[in-house]
Symmetry: C4
Subunit: 348 residues, 4 copies
Amino acid sequence: MAMVCLSDFEAYAKKYLPKIAWDFFAAGADDCSTRDENILAYKRIRFRPRILRDVSMLDIRTKLLGTEISFPVGIAPTGFHQLAWPDGEKSTARAAKAMDICYIASTYSTCTLEEISAAAPGGFRWFQLYTYRNRAVSQRLVQRAEALGFQGLVLTADLPYTGKRRDDVRNGFRLPPHMKLKNLEGAFEVCTMSLLDPSVTWNDIYWLRSLTHLPIIIKGILTKEDAELAVRHGVQGIVVSNHGGRQLDGGPATVDALAEVVEAVQGRVEVYLDGGIRKGSDVLKALALGAKCVFVGRPALWGLAYRGEEGLQDVLRILQDEFRLSMALAGCASVSEIGRHLVQLSRL
Amino acid sequence: MAMVCLSDFEAYAKKYLPKIAWDFFAAGADDCSTRDENILAYKRIRFRPRILRDVSMLDIRTKLLGTEISFPVGIAPTGFHQLAWPDGEKSTARAAKAMDICYIASTYSTCTLEEISAAAPGGFRWFQLYTYRNRAVSQRLVQRAEALGFQGLVLTADLPYTGKRRDDVRNGFRLPPHMKLKNLEGAFEVCTMSLLDPSVTWNDIYWLRSLTHLPIIIKGILTKEDAELAVRHGVQGIVVSNHGGRQLDGGPATVDALAEVVEAVQGRVEVYLDGGIRKGSDVLKALALGAKCVFVGRPALWGLAYRGEEGLQDVLRILQDEFRLSMALAGCASVSEIGRHLVQLSRL
Amino acid sequence: MAMVCLSDFEAYAKKYLPKIAWDFFAAGADDCSTRDENILAYKRIRFRPRILRDVSMLDIRTKLLGTEISFPVGIAPTGFHQLAWPDGEKSTARAAKAMDICYIASTYSTCTLEEISAAAPGGFRWFQLYTYRNRAVSQRLVQRAEALGFQGLVLTADLPYTGKRRDDVRNGFRLPPHMKLKNLEGAFEVCTMSLLDPSVTWNDIYWLRSLTHLPIIIKGILTKEDAELAVRHGVQGIVVSNHGGRQLDGGPATVDALAEVVEAVQGRVEVYLDGGIRKGSDVLKALALGAKCVFVGRPALWGLAYRGEEGLQDVLRILQDEFRLSMALAGCASVSEIGRHLVQLSRL
Amino acid sequence: MAMVCLSDFEAYAKKYLPKIAWDFFAAGADDCSTRDENILAYKRIRFRPRILRDVSMLDIRTKLLGTEISFPVGIAPTGFHQLAWPDGEKSTARAAKAMDICYIASTYSTCTLEEISAAAPGGFRWFQLYTYRNRAVSQRLVQRAEALGFQGLVLTADLPYTGKRRDDVRNGFRLPPHMKLKNLEGAFEVCTMSLLDPSVTWNDIYWLRSLTHLPIIIKGILTKEDAELAVRHGVQGIVVSNHGGRQLDGGPATVDALAEVVEAVQGRVEVYLDGGIRKGSDVLKALALGAKCVFVGRPALWGLAYRGEEGLQDVLRILQDEFRLSMALAGCASVSEIGRHLVQLSRL
């Protein structure tokens, strides 16, 4: 079967992954309505394509906080890559480097930060962070990431508690015994979600700031109010995210929340987005609405599940080709020509 | 099979209840469009969740007319609980007391008020009332309820006649011979719906007021005009309700009517809601739109059908856990932090 | 099988009528989108029901141009009733008289006007009229109808040509040889639709006026402009109609066009509606939007197909009961209390 | 099976064409959402039909840039007609001439321009043009077309690169060996899409202008900005088109973009439309919104697939009959009476 678009990889992963792993990756909270809205929302956005513009030279490169990437897509932080492919996050790191994009490694990786670094030396990577009740654990992770050359810290801010994902409850989901949350080994006697600190507030941004020189990106913002607070607390970037619809069901699609956040931020920090990206034209829509870059979660896992590093590269290359083509067909020769004029929100 | 969410109990009840009982509980009027809208309307409401607020201590307790309850959900008045479980309303009363919430016992209970009281002494209960042509019958019920320690009277105001529920007509629904409308035994020679008085008007609130010191809550209001009249006639509470879609088909979903009623009332009396609550996040949405508490009807019956008192507690505990989690994920540490800012109504 | 609602009669007719007859009655033009919209449009209208109003005495009688009817529903003109029941329009006339409502007999009846009159002497009837190229034919029909005691003339104005009903084309629909367009026997050598005059204009209202003392009702108006013209040309009533979706596909649902027509007319003439009425609450919605009465087409045919005169009475009695109940549940004790305040149009 | 409407021809073509050919004709880009929107958008437009206007004489003729055609429908440029019928574009040309309408012959015809001309001498034809990197190729095509009596040049402006049509990728679509892009034979060594010039800009209109005296029509405009540019660069006509949804997925339905373009153009040039026309009433809607004429692509191919020249005439005759009937039922006696007043856009 030809792998032509991201849905082909999804179908493959659904067919060949163990059900418990597929369910875990696919899960949304409650009725999964926010997870599904993330995708549906793109269909309500219409392009206003322009014609007869010279699109013979297409430049899809852009920069994330000053670092150039080959196109405005990165890999969102997701856990447990060994569930998808034996080499786990090492494969992810290699694919991201090969594609010259940014990979946000999750705290809940099944490889250590050190293994990830060694797998793809010099790759552009950020590290995703939770805040533990025991702040020393978080501190040590930050220091390891900085020492290993990670170039940014992504603080996940929408998980004071874990969302209710019905299939995971039904399946009694847990990691198979031969996989570990390797980054946390030794940090806790037992390692569960309940170690997360639900008392975190904006002041903890200052604490995080004091630990590191790395830029801080905050992930999980969906309102203008929180966007304003993020800017005021000195973050360098915002990821508009609803955690793939896995946390609070009933929240907005990320692309629906994007415009509000972008308007509030007024260019003071970079704004990114994750959730629902399935085609190159989705990337173009998000950029038209003000995102500097988008990140893909589940599609990256489908790529891994297909053929590890190579499969993930296939996924990324398809997205890249589709994005380039969409950009050209919309009449833009480079990322800098993409703007709000390119889309209209349907009255739906 | 794991019972993870309320739909699991619904599926169980549909499978194991006698068809005639399931149909009676499930029935809506005519095409059931209002019944279904009650549920669909929640999907059109989007949260605006806030992040990085200290949600380590979560207080979901609230008060109904001054009485504290463990979370803002109560049991709506529904009839004939013995159709769902042999012990009928006695089980309901026990579960409600165990969960520390308010149970509105229906006039059409298959246990007497006295049995209900004795089953769960000291429980927080209101009594639901119809107005009979023979006012003495209503008066006696009020006096019994007050004497038994019921703490409020809920006057059902949307049933001058019974709605047309097609399946009940087809099934020739009637109570099995071994079940009785026990609260009305001896009150009438034959006991049918036609004993209800369709001439009731707002003035009858004064009559009811004259019978009792209990607070009067009026159930069935869907417009600002009637909300204003309710306040002017001295009620203590309003239940925004369309009788689970069993009366006038084509009326609004209760959560759609809620904002209008809340705005008209301006805090002068408490406003509650029933209809369509299926998840903890539905409770949160109703509270964000101004409800002080919501009541569940059919889900309580599904819980009874599953395992009587225990099954109902399971249902309530799931709702409670989901509500607590939704509140936290939306950034609220207590019920008092829930407000209109937490939701936006979709343009749909 | 119990016949509980109009859909039950529809299912019966679909099952037992010859396919060619069912298809003819069911047909809409082209994609049938207007036919289906007629029904769907009611679902977008929401009641604003009022409570605690004395609805012990319910008066559903109303008047059509001064003649009292038992409730605001009449029988729309449809052709070829013998396709549904051997006695054809004679049964229709008897059922209408028994129910004390208005029956608009179609020119394309399979019984003569004389037979219809004789079948139910003294019944309240209007006669539906087309305009033929040969005006003498129309004139003779008008004179016969007036002489027979018909009390109104309904001029169908939306059929300069017959709409394209795909199933009729596929089926090669034509009347079985033993049925005749009896009212036109002898009038034409061959009797086809092409005898209709597509050059008719508003001036022909004056011509029709000159032929008769009967009130003239014009059927097929969907815009305020034509409503204004109708009033100016001296008609006594308007039927907002799209011919059951059988003429121009893509036009508005009649209940969607109703408000515009009512507003234009400003009470100067009575406004009626046909199309899409399937429940008593649909009647209530149409009246709330300003219709004086509605007419049912296909449901009457289903009733005939079920059991002739009795079946049609069953259909009408169900509609009557449902209308009475809906009116009461919406808080109205009589037709005169129904008004625009009773509904809101959904934003859909 | 009777061929009653265009969907009948679609069903036939889907059943009898080789899958690879059907897929090629049916293909849309990516998720095909724009392709499908082209059709769905018509369903959101409602007529405001007028009655009692003299529609006895119906004149559906109109003019394209001064040339009279039998009704406002033409044949859009589509490639590879031999995939549908052995005689290919020769049959198309004959059918178009027989129906007295305009046929826009595609550069990617499987017959030469000379063969097309010879097949139907004197037919009203335009020639559709791409801009090649090698401008001499385009120039020669223009000169051949002009010499052969083609009366207009249609510059396709929305194909700097070919859209991603998943089925074509899966099928490895290419022309069968016995079919050729005959108009380009000898022009290139290998003839692929990559010969198209993506650097084309508005200035190339001047270049094209310098080559020919024929009117220039630009195809692929979807915004008022580009419409204004087209007028300023001296084109004679605009085709509002999204290339049948085969280029940028996510763009607007053509009939949704039409009003914006018509308003911008203000009558300075003629505006046409292609995409989604499936019924005569769709034509009427497009004309009501300001199109001078519409063009059909896939329906023409279905007609060819059915029975070549005759089948295409069947399709066109059905459209013509449906258009005439719709116009009459909407109350217009001639094309000149069609206007914006005839439709309202639904709030959906």
